[in-house]
Symmetry: C2
């Protein structure tokens, strides 16, 4: 399995394709830490009753863009449907979630917004799984065997899958004139935006939440991602930021120490002795990055169960520890919030985590078209690093036997001067971003036109607007969702007006 390879030069902190800015030669692959997230989801009564979804499988074509004899091979693409609020004859729309790099169930459960607004719109909800994730494996268990099978995993094929499936579905349920709005978060948001760009005849609008469509080539400064993570911690507490920034040197020092591994294992309360000090570094890194991303204003459980504003909570832990304690021990204590907020873990598995949400296909995508170069600047709380495309490409070649195409995304979807292009060409798109989320720096942060709108919240995090509403939601979040509902309503009103006229 490609996913278990340790030869990659990149650490793909799988979900949401974080590429760590560490020296390639020093890294290895890690995966999601073991957690009971998915099973706890299924056990969650609230979610279960609120989101009844019927599972379907669509016979999808393997390769939309060639007509080789094997291109027409069929695989079964999973999609989920909720029709309890749908009023087809009353003009109810179809809301489609364009699935991203994981099991579709997981994205469905974490996109409560669509369920919350479905009754208001009398909408049909459809969640489509991305090819090569979850159950949608074109070659079954062999799907990840090599580039000969993985080669069919990319965003253009995924968009075409959505186009073909939506068209067929509408035909099957005799709702050809029902308007379709696409929704997506993170990479799914990129797909939603690109779908509106490439298939405007199928989707009348797109809601792209936390979609870093400008994180390619040199459009967004390469250090912006980790600078943004660092900014979150700095804003919470300058001391906290400085402690974390200083912790890496202490870890490095231990790595050269004779009993370094034993000491680190002890400090990090590992269940088993560590094989590499770098596992501890990756473990910390993941905790800080994900916590910044999901710095939600309410208690939530996306990657891990976490309290409201978890970055502030982490910094409270650091600031509350005695001055004499080492920075590394403080960093460990803070990251324990991420891994053990529920206080159920007696020890931690820093090495050999599982991939509960089936996200490891992103490694391949990042090595082929999703090339997002990142570095850590001197101002970040991470060790400063540079970026070598050459080394990156060599490692991808070694790992998968293919060359990345670093300029392909901007050639296929644009990026440079996107505002000017979309102002003249395009409509009906929402780009929502929360500035707590480091991915926001690669997003569309300014209104482009009257109908291509940027909704930016200073305290928002990674697609927080897509989460189920809670009684503790702050006003700015309630307001943001209201704006989204009003804009979508406007798209539908215009569509229905046009439909009547023609």
């Amino acid at each position: 399995m490609a996913s278990s390879s340790s030869s990659s030069s990149y650490i793909f902190l799988i979900l949401l394709f974080i590429i760590l800015c560490v020296e390639p030669s020093q890294t290895k692959s890690i995966y999601l830490p073991r957690n009971n997230f998915q099973s706890s989801l299924l056990a969650n009564k609230h979610e279960k009753t609120k989101m009844p979804l019927k599972v379907h499988y669509f016979p999808q074509i393997l390769d939309h863009f060639t007509f080789l004899p094997k291109s027409s091979k069929v695989f079964y693409q999973k999609y989920l449907i909720n029709d309890q609020y749908w009023n087809k004859d009353g003009g109810g729309p179809i809301f489609v979630y364009t699935g991203n790099e994981g099991n579709i169930d997981w994205f469905a459960v974490n996109t409560g917004f669509m369920f919350d607004i479905a009754p208001k719109f009398n909408a049909l909800l459809v969640f489509i799984e991305h090819r090569f994730y979850g159950d949608s494996m074109p070659f079954g268990n062999n799907s990840y065997k090599s580039a000969k099978t993985l080669g069919y995993l990319n965003s253009q094929q995924a968009l075409a899958d959505y186009a073909v499936l939506i068209r067929s579905l509408k035909q099957n349920i005799s709702s050809e004139s029902s308007p379709v709005v696409v929704f997506g978060g993170s990479y799914g948001g990129m797909l939603a935006a690109w779908f509106r760009l490439k298939y405007p005849h199928i989707a009348i609008g797109a809601v792209a939440s936390s979609a870093p469509i400008l994180h390619f080539d040199k459009i967004t400064p390469r250090s912006s991602f980790y600078d943004a993570v660092s900014q979150d911690f700095k804003e919470a507490s300058l001391n906290c930021y400085e402690v974390i920034k200083g912790s890496w040197a202490e870890l490095d020092a231990l790595s050269t120490h004779e009993d370094g591994l034993i000491e680190v294992s002890k400090l990090f309360r590992t269940c088993k002795g560590l094989h590499s000090v770098y596992s501890a570094r990756d473990w910390l890194w993941e905790a800080f990055v994900y916590t910044a991303m999901v710095n939600y204003p309410t208690e939530a459980n996306f990657m891990m169960p976490l309290p409201a504003y978890p970055v502030e909570e982490m910094c409270k832990i650091i600031d509350g520890l005695p001055k004499g304690a080492s920075r590394l021990s403080k960093a460990f204590a803070a990251s324990s919030l991420y891994y053990n907020y529920t206080q159920t873990e007696k020890c931690f598995n820093l090495e050999g985590g599982t991939d509960a949400h089936g996200l490891h296909g992103w490694d391949w995508q990042a090595c082929t078209e999703m090339v997002m170069p990142m570095t850590c600047s001197n101002e970040s709380m991470f060790p400063p690093t540079s970026y070598s495309y050459k080394e990156f490409a060599q490692d991808c070649k070694k790992r998968y036997g293919v060359e990345p195409r670093p300029h392909w995304i901007t050639t296929e979807y644009g990026g440079y001067r996107i505002e000017q292009v979309l102002k003249k060409f395009g409509s009906n798109m929402i780009f929502s971003n929360g500035m707590q989320d480091p991915w926001s720096r690669g997003g569309v942060l300014k209104n482009i036109s009257a109908s291509i709108v940027a909704l930016v919240t200073q305290k928002g995090a990674h697609h927080v607007d897509f989460r189920s509403e809670t009684k503790n939601d702050p006003d700015w979040l309630i307001m943001q969702r209201k704006q989204e509902v009003a804009i979508i309503q406007n798209w539908l009103d215009e569509y229905n007006k046009d439909l009547k006229q023609n």
Copy 2:
């Protein structure tokens, strides 16, 4: 070679993908009749001096939409450049012809309009050859061997070729900010329009001449093409139309006659005895269809050298013959105008014509994605026919081993409710059509918005606006071209204004 197969259920009158509306079981493949068109072009001093083009080859990627190990194979794509009028630093644009189903030289020479307007715009001219045509063969002489190689021939790959080539070219000549306008006629016009739709970040506008983008699925009535051909002849002379309409039965009668083949060979002055009466039918058919398409207001040489308004000339021949002469002999005399306007042919080769412009790849395209169902109605001057998708698909399968995807074009590019879609999404497109051209019936014939404009001329024929200006051009043609120039100028002005502001 696929091109020499005679098992096809369709007669592809190659250029511009005409699918004859005859019963599949009665047909076979024919190709362009032998003619010295291309060599005469090269000998044409006027064209030669007016259109100096430098030949280049671009290392193009085989498959843009998968990352299989073999996808990155490189082939050499031909493109032609004229930079004699270019003023890059003065903001001169890049005019790109998106090549269609033939040798690019041929399209370049027949798109004199671009050369005529280049000095006014200080434009760089680029003509890009379509993959699998002319010299742009991904697998050399084996390119047409089977579906395993031909599978890479389709419109999406062609559009991506253009995107990659244009971006690379602009980078190489340090002209990233130069605006690009794409031009195309017929299938090339479809490509130009689709390019603007899918790659608005690369082309600021598209001039799509005689582009039947609505000739798919059931958008355009299936009988419209042959009804339009018939209409041209009927307008020239009712008697002419009736004579042609009646000629098929006479040919059919001969086909059952003992000496039928000999009689037809004699009547049609064939160089060799015919093997099938149907060859005569196809030969007539081709003459009438092409002559309607190229019913230009001036003497021209696109498919064949022809006088001005050749449909009228054909009908004059028919109307001038004695009443007692058979309809078939009159039809033959009329079609001789098409095959022998220069009076140089002593006899005709109705069977085994050559493919001087390298157009036979269209057979494959029509059997995969370019599925354009056509029938002949009772009102047409052709024998009435029905359409069986099942038979069509079976024959394609038999011929190439692949299934057509009849709904793919409308899924990928839209089509249904195109006006509504483009009104909300899109800009800067010209759809020009001449109503003499039967393909116009599948074109965009009404303005869609202020910046998506339909220029329709009643007396125009197949991309007549793209031909070199002549001293005999009628006012309506001069006016049409002036409108096009003004609209393009407007696109450029807007682009340059934006560029200065940002």
